[in-house]
């Protein structure tokens, strides 16, 4: 399992990072840009950066090269946008986090713990009937552990969108120019 280099393995899926002004309404404008053109957002993650006036939006979307070019250009055109980058164009680290609540009767627990161990997951809550586990990784890893836990009975999951950073010293500069 190659963990960190499977960016955009499905050729039409792209992870895009956008640096925007951290103020109300900006996310609505980004979302409106997608909905106005009928483009879907598969996942979305927003958080403030080391500069409190700048937020980083990481979104996963699908489309051919032409659609991607339009998305990139329109995101760049938004006045609140500082920088847009298709993370697939560079070597990058991508992560998602998932919380999984599993049915865990006594008999099944040791097997469940073994699986969690292999995936370097963390048990964050235990009750008499359930275990809640936190797993971080790329999409493939999350998919794999979900598959393995499925037979035990998954009661609920909560999943973040993808976040990504370029490898090495390169960064997305957020300064207005």
């Amino acid at each position: 399992m190659s963990r960190n280099s499977d960016n955009n393995t499905k050729d039409d899926t792209h992870t895009i990072a956008v640096l925007v002004e951290n103020k109300f309404g900006v996310l609505a404008k980004v979302a409106s840009l997608f909905s106005a053109r009928g483009y879907n957002i598969d996942s979305l993650c927003v958080g403030v950066t080391q500069d409190p006036s700048v937020s980083r939006i990481t979104l996963v979307t699908r489309g051919d090269a032409k659609v991607l070019e339009q998305i990139r250009k329109h995101l760049s055109k938004l006045i609140d946008t500082f920088k847009v980058m298709d993370m697939g164009e560079t070597d990058s680290v991508e992560r998602e986090m998932i919380l999984i609540k599993i049915s865990a009767p006594k008999a099944a627990r040791s097997e469940i713990f073994q699986i969690i161990d292999v995936f370097r997951g963390r048990v964050v809550d235990v009750s008499t009937d359930t275990i809640t586990v936190e797993v971080t990784g790329d999409e493939g890893k999350i998919h794999a552990i979900l598959n393995l836990l499925q037979p035990f009975g998954i009661k609920e999951i909560a999943r973040t969108g993808k976040v990504a950073l370029t490898r090495g010293a390169k960064t997305l500069k957020g300064s207005k120019n």
Binding site: F24, G25, S32, A36, K66, S76, K77, I79, N177
Partner: protein, 564 residues
């Protein structure tokens, strides 16, 4: 000095040279209106907010200047949406100032509250909800800059009532009307692209220029004429580019696309180099993209990066201001030798002219021809949307830019009358003619009251066929003449309606009265409505059916074509 929020905004607007407002007051904008009055800010009270937006739109298109549109919250603001969308599609600058309920009431479903910030995101270039009096100065400056620079467009300032009256310390600009800072992403001149284009022009045997709204907006008409004439390349103007090149010039090929001239579409099909100067390859221009300019190298100059490669693949993209690019091109260009090509398109022009039959009824094209004759192409021509708009685009020969006001991208019926009023306010020395359809006119005719109140002498020619004519034409051609709800058999008497508004109204039923009535209208000192009861089933030709390629253009009704 200490001012309230409304005063600060007005100071900033005045400092930027903005000197016109259109709008209607209401509860949530009353403090701002109070300050407009005290500041003696010129304001035109309209009858509907959509009319106010179209007036500002028409005003901007002919003057290049931006006006503000002022409405109250809720319905006042939502009535603006069509006007904003129209300006957005055609890249027209205007600044909407909408009242909003007080900040502590936002989100409570207060009286006349609407999420105008949310509603206007997709129909503005940019918008703001002002939540702090201290940001008004900055936001107003940004709004003016955004509206007027780069690719222009409408912006909206949603202005809560409490912020309008909150006081703050205000430091005026150093000098009134000081130039605005350059937009953030103004592209630098792409010299590499220009070099490639010059090479392509030298290599080409059958080049064509297509000039769009970018020619008008960047003020590049003279540079375009210089370029086309020096190079000997014929010019097509898109619907919004009309006026960008003299309509009487031998190099002019008219409008392309769905209802373009035959020779423009032939030229597009046959050219080996298409030089697109500030047009956005609208679907009504290209027809089916796969058969658009099939043999041509395509160069596209545009100020908006997102337009390049959007619909038509471009071989030579040049990001930049059309005028700047043309100036550089003109410095470098060597005259071409396209004699064979010139012969070809000259023959097309001679053999496939725009024409219409003469059968004793009032032909709409004839009325437009007569308007063209009495104004000699020196008027300002405004339209609604539909058949009459296409005929006007075909038959009026424009002498100069910014004399053609039409709703291109959005195709907004009802645009005409308010836009004509706005145009007349901007250029009072010009004769402003509105060529409208009965369907379009009826949508906003309430603004006749505005024309009467302010005595705005616009001349309205309604080409009244008692149909939604373009819909009827499509139903005739593509829906086996099933005229589903496109007929207005009980159309009102528009002449009498005009009189009711205090506007001179004349109904014309006889073709021999056309010329006289037009002259009467031209001489009348005030607004006039001429209601021409025209041939009901006249169609616009040529026509490229929707979704077909420009090579599938029909020149005339199928029956007539078969005969000839």
């Amino acid at each position: 000095m200490e001012l309230n929020g409304s005063q600060i905004m007005i100071e900033e607007l005045k400092a930027a040279g903005i000197e016109m407002a259109f709008g209607i007051p209401g509860g949530a904008i009353m403090p701002f209106y109070d300050e407009l009055l005290k500041a003696d800010f010129p304001h035109i009270l309209t009858r509907h907010e959509q009319g106010a937006a179209h007036m500002a739109d028409g005003y901007a298109r002919v003057s290049g200047k931006v006006a503000i549109v002022v409405t109250t919250s809720g319905p006042g603001a939502t009535n603006l949406i069509t006007g904003l969308a129209n300006a957005q599609m055609d890249s027209v600058p205007l600044i909407a100032v909408t009242g909003q309920v007080a900040t502590n009431m936002i989100g409570t479903d207060a009286f006349q509250e609407a999420d105008v910030y949310g509603c206007s995101i997709p129909v503005t270039k940019f918008n703001w909800l002002i939540k702090d009096v201290n940001e008004i100065q900055h936001v107003t400056r940004e709004a003016i800059r955004m509206a007027t620079t780069g690719r222009p467009g409408p912006v909206l300032l949603d202005f809560p009532k409490d912020i309008q009256i909150t006081k703050a310390e205000y430091t005026p600009r150093e000098s009134a009307g000081s130039p605005l800072p350059a937009p953030r992403q103004y592209p630098e001149l792409d010299m590499e692209g220009i070099d490639k284009l010059i090479e392509a022009i030298e290599r080409a045997e059958r080049p064509v220029i297509i000039g769009g709204a970018g020619i008008i907006k960047s003020g590049a008409s003279e540079e375009l004429a210089k370029f086309a004439k020096a190079a000997g390349i014929p010019v097509i103007n898109t619907l919004l580019g009309l006026g960008g090149f003299p309509g009487t010039d031998e190099l002019f090929l008219g409008m392309p696309g769905m209802h373009g001239t035959a020779y423009a579409n032939f030229a597009l099909c046959e050219c080996d180099l298409l030089i697109n100067l500030g047009a956005r390859f609208d679907d009504r221009v290209t027809g089916k993209v796969s058969s658009f300019c099939p043999n041509a190298t395509i160069a596209h100059v545009d100020i908006d990066d997102a337009e390049i490669d959007k619909r038509v693949h471009t071989h030579i993209p040049i990001l930049g201001n059309v005028r700047d690019v043309l100036i550089t091109l003109n410095e470098r260009l060597t005259p071409g030798d396209y004699d064979e090509w010139r012969q070809t398109w000259t023959d097309w022009k001679a053999n496939y002219p725009l024409q219409y039959d003469w059968d004793g009824s009032i032909k709409p094209q004839y009325v437009i021809d007569q308007i063209q004759e009495i104004t000699e192409g020196n008027g300002i021509y405004v339209t609604g949307v539909g058949q009459h708009q296409m005929w006007a685009a075909q038959f009026i020969r424009f002498n100069e830019p910014k004399t053609w006001v039409t709703s291109g991208g959005l195709g907004t019926m009802g645009f005409g009358l308010p836009a004509a009023i706005g145009a007349k306010f901007a250029r009072p020395e010009k004769d402003v003619w509105l060529i409208d359809g009965d369907g379009s006119f009826a949508m906003t005719l309430v603004e006749l009251a505005t024309a009467a109140t302010y005595n705005v002498p616009v001349k309205v020619a309604i080409l009244n066929n008692a149909y939604l004519g373009m819909v009827r034409q499509w139903q005739e051609l593509f829906f086996e003449k099933r005229y589903s709800h496109s007929h207005y058999p009980e159309n009102p008497d528009f002449g009498t309606i005009a009189e009711g508004y205090g506007v001179k109204g004349i109904n014309i039923t006889d073709v021999n009265e056309v010329r006289n009535s037009l002259e009467t209208a031209a001489e009348h000192d005030g607004p006039v409505v001429l209601n021409f009861l025209v041939n009901k089933e006249e169609n616009v030709w040529p026509m490229v059916p929707a979704g077909a390629g420009n090579d599938e253009m029909q020149l005339a009704p199928p029956s007539r074509e078969a005969k000839s």
